[in-house]
């Protein structure tokens, strides 16, 4: 691991150089206030500050909204040949904040476990990540510190922290990171680790919203309050639209469907995002729905983030505190408020 100090301009120039030779995504501003991970081209606006989390998290570049699993073709004799469709192209995702690094880290765990997922892992292995530290909360919805993701840097190949004096501290964390920074003429930095700690300790405290309980307690509280009026309180405003699922960095449930091309001889099997808040998510053939009420679906979603997945993967929370679900919800239903209410309900 090595450290450099670079100016904002040097880093932006470096990103542009990488983008000229690679497929590189960066959170670019769209419209008045929303950010999207967009492929960087010559005219792209690259700036690290004034950021609010992108509508869709960067991990969805590794779990696309729709992806081909298999493609097939039936020949004139009626024999069908099926082949897997695998994306092994190289990409760089730059400007990934800690909450989203944590999201990618958790997805790595989910997709490696049990029967490993070839499609995710092939993309992941061919993805370089340039992380960027948040020294101030992005907006009033963030609660990354409350779920231990504010200091998550694992998974980044290069991690950039703004430090005192306006320079950027560049931490090269992996072999791939060395490759990305090969030939740069930035100033090597001997006291990188100390400068990083300096930046961390200078952050506001508390950093973003905090829960009235510690993380290990929260899992127990959510589990214990399986029957609770809180499950009805917020869901009253829920349209079951599934937006919270679609913008969540740790939601990965999918549907599988086939497409037949117009030649009626070839086509593909695709998977696309599905969401446990959608009304038909747990419905079986014949019409029986195992989770017909929105409250049961919301309870399932919150439990997946705070009890089911954390227990299965032995990790604190499967919620990264990015605040996207609350930010994007039409009815302003926020998982932070649900969990806070459960904690307060449980304390009564």
């Amino acid at each position: 691991m090595s450290y450099y100090l670079a100016t904002q301009k040097e880093i932006v120039d470096w990103i542009r150089r990488l983008a000229a030779e690679n497929r590189l995504y960066f959170p670019e501003k769209h419209g008045a206030a929303s950010y999207r991970f967009t492929r960087v081209g010559p005219g792209s606006d690259i700036q690290f500050d004034h950021y609010t989390p992108t509508v869709v998290p960067p991990v969805k570049l590794l779990v696309p909204a729709r992806e081909e699993l298999l493609h097939f073709r039936t020949d004139a004799d009626g024999k069908t040949e099926v082949q897997p469709s695998l994306d092994t192209s190289f990409r760089i995702i730059a400007g990934v904040r800690s909450c989203d690094l944590k999201g990618i880290f958790l997805m790595d765990l989910f997709f490696r476990e049990g029967v490993p997922d070839a499609y995710y892992l092939a993309r992941r292995e061919n993805t370089a990540i340039i992380g960027y530290a948040c020294n101030t909360p992005c907006d009033e919805r963030a609660f990354c510190a409350a779920v231990d993701s504010l200091d998550h840097t694992e998974g980044a190949d290069v991690y950039i922290t703004p430090v005192k004096g306006g320079d950027l501290l560049v931490e090269v964390k992996t072999k791939l990171g060395e490759k990305l920074t090969d030939g740069v003429d930035w100033k090597p930095c001997e006291d990188g680790a100390a400068r990083r700690i300096g930046a961390v300790t200078a952050r506001p405290e508390p950093f973003g919203r905090t829960f009235p309980a510690a993380l290990p307690e929260i899992s127990k509280i959510v589990e214990k309050n399986y029957e609770s009026p809180v499950w009805d309180k917020h869901v009253k405003r829920c349209f079951s639209c599934g937006t919270c699922n679609l913008v969540c960095p740790t939601c990965y449930c999918f549907d599988v469907a086939d497409d037949l091309h117009l030649d009626v001889a070839s086509g593909n099997r695709t998977r696309s995002w599905d969401g446990c808040m959608l009304p038909h998510f747990a419905e079986v053939g014949g019409g029986h729905n195992f989770r017909p009420e929105p409250a049961a679906r919301q309870r399932h979603r919150v439990n997946r983030k705070f009890t089911y997945l954390p227990e299965k993967f032995e990790h604190g929370a499967a919620c990264v505190g990015c605040g996207r679900c609350g930010r994007q919800c039409t009815s302003h239903i926020d998982i932070f408020d649900i969990v806070t209410d459960l904690i307060q309900e449980g304390a009564r």
């Binding site: 097939f72 039936t74 897997p84 070839a118 499609y119 892992l121 599988v256 086939d258 439990n303």
Partner: protein, 282 residues
């Protein structure tokens, strides 16, 4: 941990590529349920209670119960109800046509757990289809078990499945109790009532009894309650559950029952392992 493009290609093939299966026999069981016998390229190597993902490329894929007992040949038997687009296309297939199979998936039953015990099967409607994969090996080795009883119920006489098979099991000395919810003015020489009704009168030694249940979601609670009232302990009641499934490998999320995954941890469970999962039964 293995990595590399070649490995991922193989992994993708192993996970999602169906193997071809050739339909060698089709029979109508009811107006909407059709029996299929399929020859695979190699033995399925399944346990009773497991399922396969059945697909027609260009139409779709769905989880379907395996209906035959384990064996060394390449046979797969299924009964498929016409219920949606894929099952309609499956019903349109003819003998000699090919469909896609991947699996088997899930935990399944181990008949050895039932050795020396009285065995009670309770099947509601289509539940008889997967249970047959367990009843078949149990009946084949009947001397290893105590008294074998099957309660099989369906809505009306026209919906009864595997009629000849039920006759054969009866002839083999199995107590087969055949029930309909109502005769609906159709000829019917067996009983009328719910599958729970015979349970209080069954000759069974609760200490020695193991039960295996499969049926519509509403059935389980009532049957388990009736068995509990007879003193059959919850760790001797096995349930075979149904959930929506899209992948079969614990990823797509549809089959989740609280913290467990029906496709991998089930679909067969000891009821005692489910008792603390509120989403398991209705």
């Amino acid at each position: 941990m293995k990595t590399g493009t070649e490995y991922y290609h193989q992994l993708a093939r192993d996970t999602f590529m169906p193997q071809p299966g050739r339909i060698v026999e089709i029979a109508d069981m009811t107006a909407k349920d059709r029996y299929f016998r399929v020859e695979l390229e190699k033995p399925l190597g399944h346990h009773p209670g497991q399922f396969v993902m059945v697909s027609v490329m260009g139409v779709g894929e769905a989880p379907i119960s395996i209906s035959n007992g384990p064996g060394k040949d390449n046979t797969l038997e299924m009964v498929i109800r016409r219920i949606g687009r894929l099952t309609q296309v499956l019903h349109d297939l003819k003998v000699g046509d090919t469909l896609g199979i991947r699996g088997p998936y899930g935990s399944g039953f181990d008949p050895a757990n039932f050795y020396g015990r009285d065995v009670l099967f309770v099947a509601g409607g289509l539940g008889l289809v997967p249970l047959r994969s367990l009843i078949t090996p149990v009946v084949a080795e009947a001397n290893r078990f105590g008294k074998i009883t099957l309660i099989s119920g369906c809505r009306n006489p026209s919906e009864e499945l595997y009629r000849d098979q039920l006759d054969e099991w009866t002839d083999a000395g199995i107590e087969v109790i055949r029930l309909v919810d109502g005769t609906e003015n159709m000829p019917w020489k067996f009983g009328v009532g719910l599958v729970t009704e015979p349970i209080p009168k069954l000759k069974l030694d609760p200490e020695k009894t193991v039960a295996a249940l499969c049926g519509p979601p509403v059935m389980y609670k009532f049957v388990i309650t009736a068995l509990g009232a007879r003193g059959v302990s919850y760790d001797q009641i096995y349930v075979d559950l149904e959930r929506r499934m899209k992948c079969g490998v614990g990823k797509c999320g549809h089959c989740q029952i609280n913290k467990i995954y029906c496709c991998q941890d089930g679909p067969v469970f000891r009821f005692s392992d489910l008792a603390l999962l509120p989403e398991a039964l209705l």
